[in-house]
């Protein structure tokens, strides 16, 4: 089990107040902004930027960059690893 992805799921639920969901409900590749996935909206996307800074120390100054990074938990984890490696 990838602990970064599990942590991310917990953080997403916490930061976005998705109290009806548990970590087990979020698949690694579920589309976060698709209604068939988590159905998040534009404010949630901005809150994910806050999450990245709060838990991972990563600053994102252009919301456009988030569009690719926030597709799924998979892409978020990859983005965090890329930024940390840089």
């Amino acid at each position: 089990m990838d602990s970064l992805k599990e942590d991310l799921k917990k953080q997403i639920i916490e930061q976005l107040n998705l109290e009806d969901l548990t970590v087990a409900d979020i698949a690694d590749d579920a589309l976060l902004f698709n209604d068939q996935g988590l159905g998040l909206d534009s404010i949630d996307a901005l809150e994910l930027i806050v999450l990245l800074e709060k838990y991972h120390g990563i600053q994102l100054t252009n919301p456009e960059e988030g569009k690719e990074a926030f597709k799924s938990v998979d892409t978020m984890a990859a983005y965090i690893r890329k930024r940390k490696a840089a």
């Binding site: 909206d41 534009s42 404010i43 901005l46 806050v50």
Partner: protein
């Protein structure tokens, strides 16, 4: 008939409607670069009143506006129990008292001017000003009061700036409503006031006619504009229908035009659907920034000045068309007789409001 007049504007451009008019007619803006005020200590463009600092900024501004308005009307109506004062604001005196953002100001205004009724605050985000003018007109029309004074006021705060920064909605240049390169809003502070009355005689200068409008919710999203402009279409449509005014009668539209990509696009779509795309249109945010709860009152007061001076004012910050539906944006000041104008506003919570003003 419902009259509106005695307009007051207090902004970085001046303390009277006339001073503000002079600045607008010279296309001067109140927006300046404020160093280090952003959440991350960035420089931020703001339209801030230089002399307004220290405590009780909201209260002082409201009192100053009402004192100025008093000079322009039969002052004896102020203390009448047939007179009501409505205050339009989003965050009021937040910096003075978080838990009671309006109470102290309302009491102070009532006491200072010896009002018969405690002022009522209307707080509907960015449509507050236009909505409150409509409420005033409706109250007079229904005979609940003879005179209703509307004061729209919001002051600058870290709170609001940081909030809009968290939404990535603050432009790094002075806002450019409807322009292709627009990148967001510029915040402003200011105060506008006007008297709405059923009696022409209480105005020292000739008033105009207020054609009260309606509000409509987008029923779409609390912080994102509708993609279809549905709420704005319904609200403007109902306002025009209520007064039997067809599109051919509208001489000018003072739009909301915040300078965000989605708001301005929504408005362009709505005006297209309303067959109003060819009407001369401006946004005044390039002059005053977005003054939130004050915006609708300040901008309506400017419309009144435009009508009094028979002049269309350039939409400051606009260069290239930047909406999917075309608009007839005013590129330079131009003399024009204005008989009937439309003012609109849209805002958080999905609200839309509109009103019309007609020359007597």
């Amino acid at each position: 008939m419902i009259y509106i007049g005695a307009e007051v504007i207090i902004s970085p451009l001046g303390d009277t409607a006339e001073d503000n008019w002079e600045a607008l007619s010279e296309n001067r803006s109140g927006i300046v670069l404020a160093p280090g005020v952003g959440f991350n200590k960035e420089d931020i463009h703001l339209s801030q009143i230089a002399w307004l600092n220290g405590p009780l900024r909201f209260q002082r501004l409201v009192i100053k506006a009402l004192a100025a308005l008093k000079e322009r009307i039969d002052a004896s109506i102020l203390t009448s129990d047939r007179t009501m004062v409505l205050i339009s604001s989003t965050k009021g005196a937040l910096d003075d008292n978080l838990h009671d953002q309006f109470g102290e100001t309302c009491s102070a205004v009532m006491q200072q001017f010896n009002l018969a009724h405690l002022p009522v605050v209307i707080s509907n985000a960015c449509i507050s000003g236009v909505l409150t003018l409509n409420v005033a007109g409706n109250m007079v029309e229904a005979g609940q009061y003879d005179h209703v004074i509307v004061i729209g006021c919001d002051v600058a705060s870290d709170f609001v700036l940081y909030g809009f920064q968290s939404l990535f909605a603050v432009s790094d240049k002075p806002c450019a409503p409807f322009d292709a390169a627009r990148k967001g809003i510029t915040l402003g502070e200011g105060c506008g006031a006007a008297l709405v009355s059923g009696m022409q005689s209480v105005f020292k200068d000739k008033p105009l006619e207020l054609l009260t409008g309606t509000s409509a919710n987008d029923a779409n999203h609390i912080s994102g504009p509708s993609r279809t402009g549905e709420g704005l279409v319904r609200c403007v449509g109902r306002t025009m229908q209520k007064h039997g005014i067809g599109t051919e009668k509208i001489d000018f539209i003072c739009a909301h035009g915040t300078g965000t990509v989605f708001n301005d696009e929504m408005e362009a779509i709505a005006f297209g659907r309303l067959s109003l795309s060819d009407k001369p249109l401006n946004s005044l945010k390039g002059y005053f920034g977005h003054t939130l709860g004050a915006a609708g009152v300040i901008e309506t007061a400017v419309c009144m000045q435009m009508m009094r001076n028979s002049m269309l004012i350039k939409s400051l910050g606009y260069c290239d068309a930047g909406t999917s539906e075309p608009l007839n944006i005013i590129l330079k000041n131009e003399p024009k007789k204005l008989r009937t104008i439309l003012k609109t506003a849209s805002g958080f919570g999905g609200g839309n409001a509109s009103l019309m003003i007609r020359d007597l």
